[in-house]
């Protein structure tokens, strides 16, 4: 399965990645190579094999429901470019 440039642009948009016009062809051809590998894998007969959600054959450990984290807002907000009134500020988004 080959991927063309417009599909690369769409995927890049969904992933919020900027891919320059100049790089688009190369990215398309590299992803096409990866898809070729997947095609090869898909040709294997897996009819008798149970799908698995995780490569490790172990199950999830559960956490006891207690609030263990302390309020570290002041410290954490120094990491953000902008904060005000306890809120993190981001460029305006309105749906």
């Amino acid at each position: 399965m080959a991927l063309d440039k417009s599909e690369v642009e769409k995927i890049a948009q969904l992933a919020r990645l900027h891919i320059s016009e100049a790089d688009a062809d190369e990215v398309a051809s590299r992803i096409t190579d990866i898809l070729a590998l997947i095609d090869q894998m898909q040709s294997i007969n897996t009819e008798t094999i149970e799908p698995m959600a995780h490569p490790l054959d172990v199950t999830q450990r559960l956490r006891v429901d207690t609030a263990t984290e302390k309020d570290r807002r002041n410290e954490l907000q120094t990491l953000a470019p902008a904060a005000q009134d306890g809120l993190y500020l981001v460029p305006k988004v309105i749906e």
Binding site: R73, G86, L87, I94
Partner: protein
């Protein structure tokens, strides 16, 4: 043309765990912004999710309550999209292997019949944060306290046919999650939210029309109104020769219309894949049996027991079991006074009217169940009449004194002293010769008037039964 509508509901219920779904941050309502948002909730690099055991237990509780298949192995998936209140860039949810599979619940329709509505599935997922667009000029403010809080998304089958049924379904869900004590389910606070899928088709056809989704409706009444409004709109579009576009809309309660939310430039493509940071969750029969054994008596079972055990009408039993608090209150009053029917009348009548008037929950009632039970006991032992009891009840709203003290200090004790009653009766006979004559001539309904006169003379305190009896004796002999 006649149309019929097909409605499906997606209800998000906020699970009332103490901590978040995948982190140890507190999840209390109403905290200062971002004071409950820590490194995992902010998606700082290197942080990993650790799944909350209680959220799983609550989801299974719900599943068992609606008779659903419980997923012995559930798997979390990533749903990818970009929005500032979702710092990771994906929501952890369950796609193909939800914890709760197919189940159903039964709702009582307006004509009293029961209808079973299927639940397709219920899956565990994390909530997003909150964006505030108003106050920061070119910025939006982000509060991540809500980010990562556990939600149960309950998806109904498209088996709901009108707005009233949708509300009945929603109220039943509300009742069940509150009985189970897994969520406050307060719509005004967002701990229960509802998305509605609506489509219409010509009556008695089977092919589904194109549906629209109305997002984030936050009250029972608006759910009903939004559905009416959207059905009306779809009919107008189609009857004018137009086509319904599959889209997301929002309900504007001021104008009572639905409007399209701005469609995204690129269609949503969430690119789901299994969450590599979490392992499959495996539960066994023993775990499920343990939770099943802890289930409380649920609304339907309680309703049935109430109508049998207390000989209540189906309607009264339904009203009294709508919330667990109401049911517990009623049972305490019924046990307190020993007369369930009288207790039911007062709880569904005067007490409910009082609560509605003041917009109070029964748990906030200034008249506690024990006191109402005492009041009713005083009717039953003839200390006061039903009419006087209403006066005492009014007083009890603001006066925390005991029922007996209120009756004593207001001088409301029923007059049962036969001498006093005889005096009243004599006075009534003397004052109303015409009616007395009519009664003698066999016009029996006049007795009501005469008893009324005696009650008025006694300011409601005479025992009406005694008055009635004595009047008859004196006039007829």
């Amino acid at each position: 043309m006649e149309w019929e509508s097909v409605i499906g509901l997606e209800v998000h219920v906020s699970l009332s765990t103490k901590s978040k779904l995948f982190s140890g941050s507190a999840s209390a309502f109403g905290a200062e912004p971002n004071t409950q948002a820590n490194i995992f909730d902010l998606a700082l690099p290197g942080t990993l999710p650790v799944f909350n055991a209680e959220a799983l237990r609550m989801a299974v509780r719900f599943g068992l309550a609606i008779g659903a298949e419980i997923g012995k192995q559930s798997v979390f998936d990533r749903k990818n999209y970009f929005y500032p209140d979702l710092p990771k860039g994906y929501q952890i949810t369950q796609l193909d292997f939800p914890t709760v599979g197919k189940g159903s619940l039964s709702v009582t329709l307006e004509d009293g019949t029961e209808k079973v509505i299927g639940v397709t599935r219920a899956h565990i997922e994390e909530n997003a944060g909150k964006s505030l667009h108003e106050e920061f000029n070119e910025f939006s403010g982000i509060d991540l306290n809500r980010a990562g809080e556990p939600l149960l998304e309950i998806v109904s089958e498209p088996e709901i046919t009108n707005a009233k049924e949708a509300v009945a379904y929603l109220k039943k869900l509300h009742s069940i999650v509150r009985y189970l004590d897994i969520s406050d389910a307060i719509m005004a606070q967002g701990s229960m939210r509802c998305d509605v899928n609506v489509s219409i088709r010509p009556k008695n056809t089977t092919e589904l029309g194109t549906r629209t989704e109305i997002k984030n409706i936050n009250s029972f009444r608006f759910v009903e109104k939004a559905i009416y409004s959207e059905i009306r709109r779809q009919q107008e579009v189609i009857e004018d020769g137009g086509k319904i576009i599959q889209e997301t809309r929002r309900y504007d309660s001021n104008k009572d219309i639905t409007t399209p939310m701005r469609s995204k430039e690129v269609a949503n493509d969430y690119r789901y894949f299994p969450e590599p940071d979490l392992l499959p969750i495996v539960i066994d029969d023993e775990y499920i049996a343990e939770i099943r054994a802890e289930l409380p008596e649920l609304p339907d079972a309680k309703k049935e027991r109430f109508s049998k055990e207390y000989s209540l009408s189906n309607y009264d039993a339904g009203v009294l079991t709508a919330t667990r608090e109401m049911a517990e209150y009623f049972e305490e009053v019924a046990k307190g006074c020993g007369d369930p029917k009288l207790a039911a009348n007062w709880v569904t009548g005067d007490l409910s009217a009082l609560l509605n008037k003041n917009d109070l929950d029964i748990s906030d009632s200034s008249i506690q169940a024990e006191r109402l039970g005492n009041l009713l006991s005083r009717i039953l032992d003839n200390t006061i009449s039903g009419r006087i009891a209403k006066m005492v009840f009014e007083t009890m709203i603001d006066d925390n004194d005991s029922v007996d003290s209120i009756i004593a200090k207001k001088g409301l004790k029923q007059v049962t002293d036969s001498g006093a009653i005889e005096k009243l009766v004599d006075e009534v006979i003397a004052n109303n010769p015409d009616q007395v004559q009519q009664l003698k001539e066999g016009k029996d309904q006049v007795i009501g008037f005469l008893v009324g006169q005696a009650m008025r003379l006694s300011q409601g305190k005479a025992n009406p039964g005694q008055v009635n009896q004595l009047l008859r004796e004196k006039i007829m002999s």
